[in-house]
Symmetry: C2
Subunit: 531 residues, 2 copies
């Protein structure tokens, strides 16, 4: 729930609006104020009346497990967490210089980045509408800074268009929008539009197309000031007696349409990538680490769960030290919140009924590869004026992400040199880590010729080889959702599952947090109903 002050002032306001203008205005105002907005996060959870001495065991100290531990302990439960890794955070993970990482198969990488530089192998951005994650950041005083998704000066690149040369986003965006407006304007002007538009509507549509598409007075999209003020000039505006500005020349329409570069124009229109969008200052693990500091005393790291049992009276979990040393240990509790990814959980014996068992085995996991590359200098800023944002390419590396921090600094810099999904991720992930890095440097050099001369070191995480997830995220199909999702999320005896895999926001921290809040809310109600 919101704090008292916020709640009061909004309620007062709504009451005021409601009295003044009736119910419809009230709903409008509610929408405006965000009450009925498109987030499933309903505010801070409040769990009152935890039965004294009730013990809850939590498996996994990623975002879902940490939120569960934090909120259940605040509610008065006796909480214990078992975590496989020797750190908390799970996929909310940041690799920094000096970190070592051993993947499935045994290959160990040591990160050689300079102090302050990092790569987030998992999530790397927080949309403005991921209200739950943002609220935990706020409550725990984790500073955020803007992430840049769309950078008009970054590149769109196809190896099969424009001679394989990268093109600036601003040029592709301006020209595509301009030609679309021009084509539609022609159709309207020649009354070729079978769309039941009145003459007045047609006039207004044309006016909008001219403004929106940067068309000239005859509704043509051409080289000139209007288009160049968006796509950029051949020679820019200057001061004093500097040379006069020279407009740039748009792409040829059909070449642009056939380039397929338009496929990336809408990425920033997706709600999850729209501005404003954020990142924690210093690395994505900052929020998870802030949660961990709140509950560190009840978290046991390096604990590998081997079996999950339950009876009518409680739950019992056996585990070993993840380093392979020592024997079986057992943790007992009254209730269990299990946030272990299904890719791992499906390989552990767990005493739940057939519906949940089936659900646990019904969800395949996607893989992904992320590669961080350190360069001697921030050439993308110094040479190419690219400050943050993303370059998209049809090469297997798919994405180059520029750091959204320390803009203009003189030191070294780390790029996200590849962010790969699908078949390419399996292929790239099958290579030894150092070869993955080499591929990223070779392919990236087709976009940034400075790569070979400036590259220093890299680190490559292939999620299908990550020991603690054995994959990237739960890739639900519609059919599997229909059949298994509810069974996965029901409380089975004394066990409830949580994590991004138990949400409709897969792969995002928000899914893990909302899943956790929903699960512990229901578990709390069940416990209160049981005693």
């Amino acid at each position: 729930m919101k704090n008292f002050h916020e709640l009061l002032s909004r309620r007062q306001l709504l009451a005021l609006v409601g009295r003044a203008a009736g119910g419809a205005a009230m709903y409008q105002a509610m929408n405006t104020l965000g009450f009925a907005a498109s987030s499933a996060y309903s505010g801070r959870i409040e769990l009152d009346g935890a039965p004294k001495g009730t013990k809850i065991l939590i498996l996994g100290a990623g975002m879902a497990g940490l939120v569960a531990a934090y909120e259940l302990r605040n509610a008065g439960y006796s909480v214990k967490v078992l975590e496989y890794n020797n750190r908390a955070g799970g996929r909310a993970w940041t690799i920094r210089g000096g970190d070592e990482y051993t993947e499935l198969g045994g290959a160990t990488q040591r990160c050689e980045f300079d102090n302050g530089l990092y790569i987030n192998p998992g999530p790397w951005r927080i949309p403005y509408n991921h209200h739950a994650v943002l609220d935990y950041a706020k409550r725990l005083n984790v500073p955020l800074e803007p992430f840049v998704q769309v950078n008009y000066n970054a590149y769109l690149h196809s190896s099969r268009a424009f001679d394989g040369k990268p093109q600036r986003y601003r040029q592709v965006q301006t020209d595509y929008q301009g030609y679309i407006a021009e084509l539609l304007g022609k159709a309207v002007n020649k009354s070729q539009l079978d769309a039941a538009l009145t003459n007045e509507d047609q006039e207004m549509l044309l006016e909008s197309l001219r403004s929106w598409g940067a068309l000239d007075k005859d509704f043509r999209y051409v080289s000139g000031m209007a288009s160049s003020e968006r796509r950029g000039f051949a020679v820019g505006y200057g001061g004093g007696l500097m040379p006069l500005a020279v407009p740039s020349t748009p792409y040829k329409r059909d070449e642009l349409i056939n380039s397929r570069l338009w496929q990336w124009l809408s990425s920033g229109n997706q709600q999850e990538f729209q501005s404003s969008i954020f990142q924690p200052v210093g690395g994505m693990d900052r929020i998870a680490q802030a949660l961990y500091r709140q509950v560190a005393g009840v978290v046991q790291l390096s604990a590998k769960v081997t079996k999950i049992n339950q009876s009518e009276r409680g739950v019992s979990v056996t585990y070993v030290n993840a380093n392979g040393q020592g024997g079986l240990q057992t943790a007992k509790a009254d209730w269990l919140v299990c946030t272990i990814p299904l890719s791992i959980l499906s390989e552990i014996e767990i005493a739940v009924g057939e519906p949940m068992q089936d659900a646990i085995h019904a969800v395949p996991y996607e893989t992904s590869v992320k590669i961080g590359l350190q360069f001697k200098r921030r050439f993308w800023e110094q040479d190419e004026h690219i400050y943050g944002g993303i370059t998209h390419t049809d090469l297997p590396i798919s994405t180059i992400g520029y750091p959204a921090s320390n803009y203009g600094s003189n030191g070294k810099g780390v790029l996200l040199g590849a962010y790969v999904w699908g078949a390419n991720a399996y292929e790239l992930g099958a290579l030894p880590p150092e070869q993955r890095v080499r591929v990223a440097v070779e392919q990236g050099a087709q976009i940034h010729a400075q790569y070979p001369g400036e590259f220093e070191s890299g680190i490559a995480v292939s999620w299908s080889r990550v020991p603690f997830t054995n994959g990237c995220f739960g890739a639900w199909t519609d059919v599997a959702r229909e059949r298994h999702y509810k069974n996965l999320c029901q409380i089975d005896g004394r066990i409830v599952l949580a994590g991004e895999h138990a949400s409709y926001i897969p792969a995002w921290q928000e899914g893990a947090v909302l899943s956790s809040l929903d699960a512990i809310g229901r578990l709390h109600a069940r416990i209160r109903a049981t005693v």
Copy 2:
């Protein structure tokens, strides 16, 4: 010029590319690396061989004057600056709590903002392609942070559409783009397009429209997952057993087109407002103040110039203390760089020839009003999830700008409550300051119902009443440019002018800086040719 390291590595790279692929590839690579990019800033100025003992007087310590002082002194000249205000920076100006400001007409405002809160009455953003300003920020270690221009969760508002209720940018943007794509798709599908597209091109165009417009498989723009993932859901995605997501309903096409809300969709497509875009941390005056610290010893504040004279042997400027105390004083030098705005300079006697005289009198000055409003809390973030960015409205206030710093903080906040141009600016500016503030609060309340309850204090700057500029910026017409611009910029005897008014980038700091660099470069050459 770039530093040696950068220059070397880029040259090496270009040589490499040139050898490997011939001249055309060389030019392509140059483009890619930014050499032929659309900025008139050619890198750091280097003025060698200043004749010993040569004195240069500079009038005005705004960005143009400060850059001139900094660079000319670095070059070895003996420099002195006279500045009318009792502070440096000119229009690069930040008003903070405790600051007092007296406008023409005598009204004095005292800023009551809390510590750390501010308003920039003048420039408030630095585009990524304003390379000169960015370079000075870098050289002087002024930290920058991203400015947010387009915020998909901010509002577009028309008092004459949608019952006067503000609409989210994301909804207007998604629906307009969707309907445009749908309309064009229909025309293509019915072969109503008289645009010489081959069948293959038509297929590709349709595919692009579906992707770009979030159309369904039949090329319709409808309520559903595709549109809601951009415009937002009625009920958002959740975790566990939270309610299922519910798509939102697009606006009616013709209502949207007639709303004119599309007029603001392209603001972020203009190169000067494209992401990435920056602001100095703590206020726009940080860069000017950093320059001032470099040259403070040669700047005389509170010096009001009354007459500018020159002979074949030197220049002579008379001035008084701006506070009205003391008598006439005289400053003499060999050469003069005058950065006084033409609106002021046209009222000062200056010994230049008729062409420059005519030019000085040929440029009318625009006005503008900016109003900063302090509120008890950051309700736009807390209630409405708006983090930075701009709301556009057809009300006279025109713009509401949300602070692009300290996101999520619990304290008070300052909005840009109005940013007004044109007739509305004259009308609003004619009111006493406290009434301007009241108007901003009343009009803003039509968009944010929280205004009346949360408002604390405001400050309103009307540029037509600003004593040191008597206007906002030089509003050149094409005809005036054609006739007078070169005459304004030529060196007249021993006098050269600089400032945004002597540039093709009016109203922007970049214009002032480029103008200054061009002017002092030519002056230096003239001086060297003269001795």
